[in-house]
């Protein structure tokens, strides 16, 4: 069994809000092996993005209460000093976001920005330029020599995202966190970017933590998927398993809500109600009041994480 690259253990994150705390992530545990693509999927407010930011220790509002551990290659990232974390961020763990304009400096040329990263690894001058050119070719940027001189605003969305991937891969990270990497892209461009991400990560044997609400891209590239609801990881398993046999009622409901066929073939199933905002942590199942299978115990005790089949975990009393 390969040594886990990332091991999240009992992670809880509460945000300070007026009048108390919002439970954004509650007791989440999962791990990622080297070279694996793990997707965290869920709807708004499920906490997936919060987890991604917390792994990188990119605080969302500096007022969180964080409990639990995030082990990366055996070291607890939550216990590191900021200077030590800085060595990890960008180098060992890279991150790309939904909107590349948020991360690309508008006044520096694309090539220069990638070079900056290489400098941190002691590569500069002509060697760095050659490396940038190679990377631009790897991410299939046409006319890479010219594009190296472009400013971000001169590039299309798809090109910017490729520059981000190049920038990130330049440091040769072991883990890439991709937070909604293709949401802002046209679908024909999305297909290209996903392929590049998958190929490059395979080539570099980098693991990926993919954060998304889009089941399509999960089905397309993930090895494992974790489904989150209201801050909790309700189900986790191998990709084919989860799609074929979702066990948690929320997973089942979510998959049934996806439009995958024509209306003449049947109606998709909506889930009644709304996602709760948890301001008071109770010992209950957070999905109980929307669950068609809820029983008394669901409102009295929080379900524990059970391995129903090797590698397939569910948090549910009933199923």
């Amino acid at each position: 069994m390969a040594e886990e690259l990332l091991k999240v253990e009992n992670l809880s994150i509460d945000y300070k809000i007026e009048g108390g705390y919002l439970s954004a992530v509650n007791d989440v545990s999962f791990s990622i092996e080297p070279g694996q693509v793990m997707a965290l999927v869920g709807e708004s407010g499920c906490g997936k993005s919060t987890i991604a930011h917390t792994v990188m220790r990119l605080s969302i509002d500096h007022n969180e209460k964080i409990g639990g551990h995030i082990y990366f290659q055996g070291r607890d990232l939550l216990a590191l000093s900021e200077p030590d974390m800085e060595k990890v961020r960008g180098k060992e763990i890279g991150m790309i976001f939904q909107n590349p304009l948020d991360s690309l400096n508008p006044v520096y040329r694309a090539g220069t920005q990638v070079e900056e990263g290489l400098k941190l690894d002691g590569i500069s001058g002509e060697e760095a330029k050659q490396r940038v050119l190679e990377l631009f070719k790897d991410v299939q940027i046409p006319n890479p020599e010219t594009r190296m001189e472009s400013f971000p605003h001169e590039l299309s969305g798809g090109m910017r995202q490729r520059v981000m991937i190049a920038m990130m891969l330049a440091r040769e990270p072991k883990l890439l966190i991709a937070d909604e990497p293709t949401t802002a892209l046209d679908v024909t461009v999305e297909a290209q970017v996903l392929r590049i991400m998958k190929d490059m990560c395979e080539k570099e044997h980098a693991a990926v933590l993919l954060i998304t609400h889009n089941f399509g891209i999960v089905a397309e590239i993930a090895d494992r998927v974790g489904i989150m609801y209201a801050g909790e990881l309700v189900e986790e398993g191998e990709i084919h398993e989860i799609f074929r046999q979702p066990i948690h009622p929320y997973s089942q409901a979510l998959l049934s809500a996806l439009p995958r066929m024509k209306k003449s073939q049947g109606r998709i199933q909506a889930i009644e109600g709304n996602v709760p905002r948890i301001t008071e942590k109770e010992d209950v199942c957070r999905f109980a009041n929307r669950c068609p299978y809820a029983e008394a115990i669901c409102r009295e005790k929080r379900p524990e994480r059970r391995e129903v089949v090797p590698g397939h975990w569910v948090c549910c009393h009933v199923k």
């Binding site: 709807e43 299309s156 046209d186 679908v187 024909t188 297909a191 799609f243 979510l254 024509k262 109606r267």
Partner: protein, 331 residues
């Protein structure tokens, strides 16, 4: 059920003057578009950035002035119409936009938002309030929401109110521009099913504009595919999705991520380029630089809309490329 909207040779250009000494740019946002929309149908209009789908919708409503061509709405010509006629046409339509917040005035209660347009049209407040109650019931929302403000509602609830507001005007045609793109999956499911129910119940005509192929497959009767300002293919859902004849439709279908990991193929074809990569020659086919079947001819001429089967049309010189290939294979 005949055509309620008849679009013929519609053109819309946007011109930008670059400067005193530089040439201006002209963008053909919509080019040579001819399409009928039938009463009682759901027409899905699909395309990526720059396809012109939103410009088409705006031009149909007279919100943007067409550069040329005709749009006949139930007997009234929109292009070049008088203010009076435009108003008359707009009364037949209702529009729902993507961003639920932009559909509603944050300073007005739900009830105010819904009844205001009716009162402007001359309805009495009492009558309008009654209509608002019916509309809310139609979108399956509790009457207690009449007193709420938009910020107190979830995205899905805001979108329901936007639909209620659209319905209350008794439109013949609803134009929905990315109606569920900003919503979570489970909320999207609620709204899509609601739209289907309402359409059946009230015999509405919908034009649904989206980039999401899965949504379009689910709700549409017919699909129209747009690319860089041109209508490249249209037909029934079955025809367009199961027998796509325009290379762009093929590309689009292949690019959409599979919904099932079992369908993951190592042979998945990824197509090059982006929307916007168009050939220099304005006479060339817009897809020429990205098309896997491109021929010399495509670089100098735009193909014409050709019939493939009853109701199924595409504009490509190689419409029958599949048949040719199959014949080869069967030899």
């Amino acid at each position: 059920m005949g055509a309620i909207i008849k679009i013929k040779d519609l053109n819309k250009q946007f011109s930008f003057a670059k400067g005193l000494f530089a040439k201006g740019i002209t963008i053909n946002a919509v080019q040579d578009l001819t399409l009928d929309i039938n009463e009682g149908e759901i027409l899905g209009l699909i395309g990526e950035s720059g396809s012109g789908k939103t410009t088409l919708a705006r031009t149909m409503l007279g919100l943007t002035m067409a550069s040329g061509g005709h749009v006949d709405i139930d007997g009234t010509e929109v292009v070049g119409a008088s203010k009076r006629n435009l108003r008359k046409v707009r009364e037949q339509f209702a529009v729902v936009f993507q961003d639920p917040a932009s559909n509603l005035n944050p300073r007005q209660t739900v009830e105010s938002s819904i009844i205001r347009p009716l009162i402007i049209r001359g309805m009495s407040k009492a009558e309008a309030k009654e209509k608002a109650k019916v509309a809310l019931a139609n979108v399956q929302m509790d009457l207690s929401y009449l007193g709420s403000y938009p910020h107190q509602l979830s995205g899905g609830q805001q979108q329901r109110i936007a639909i209620a507001r659209a319905l209350v005007m008794d439109p013949k045609v609803m134009i929905l521009d990315e109606p569920t793109s900003a919503l979570d999956i489970s909320v999207q499911a609620q709204i899509l099913n609601l739209l289907l129910e309402l359409q059946e119940k009230l015999n509405l005509t919908y034009v649904i504009i989206t980039h999401d192929l899965n949504v379009i497959r689910y709700v549409s009767d017919r699909i129209a595919v747009m690319y860089m300002g041109r209508l490249v293919e249209y037909g029934s859902v079955d025809d367009v999705l199961e027998d796509p004849r325009h290379p762009y439709t093929e590309i689009l279908i292949h690019s959409v991520p599979v919904m099932n990991p079992e369908d993951r193929g190592s042979e998945k074809q990824i197509f090059p380029g982006e929307p916007g990569d168009v050939p220099e020659d304005p006479q060339a086919c817009r897809l020429a630089k990205r098309c896997p079947y491109v021929m010399e001819k495509c670089l100098h001429e735009t193909p014409e809309m050709t019939e493939i089967g009853p109701g199924h049309f595409a504009e490509c010189f190689l419409i029958n490329r599949k048949n040719a290939r199959t014949e080869e294979e069967n030899k």
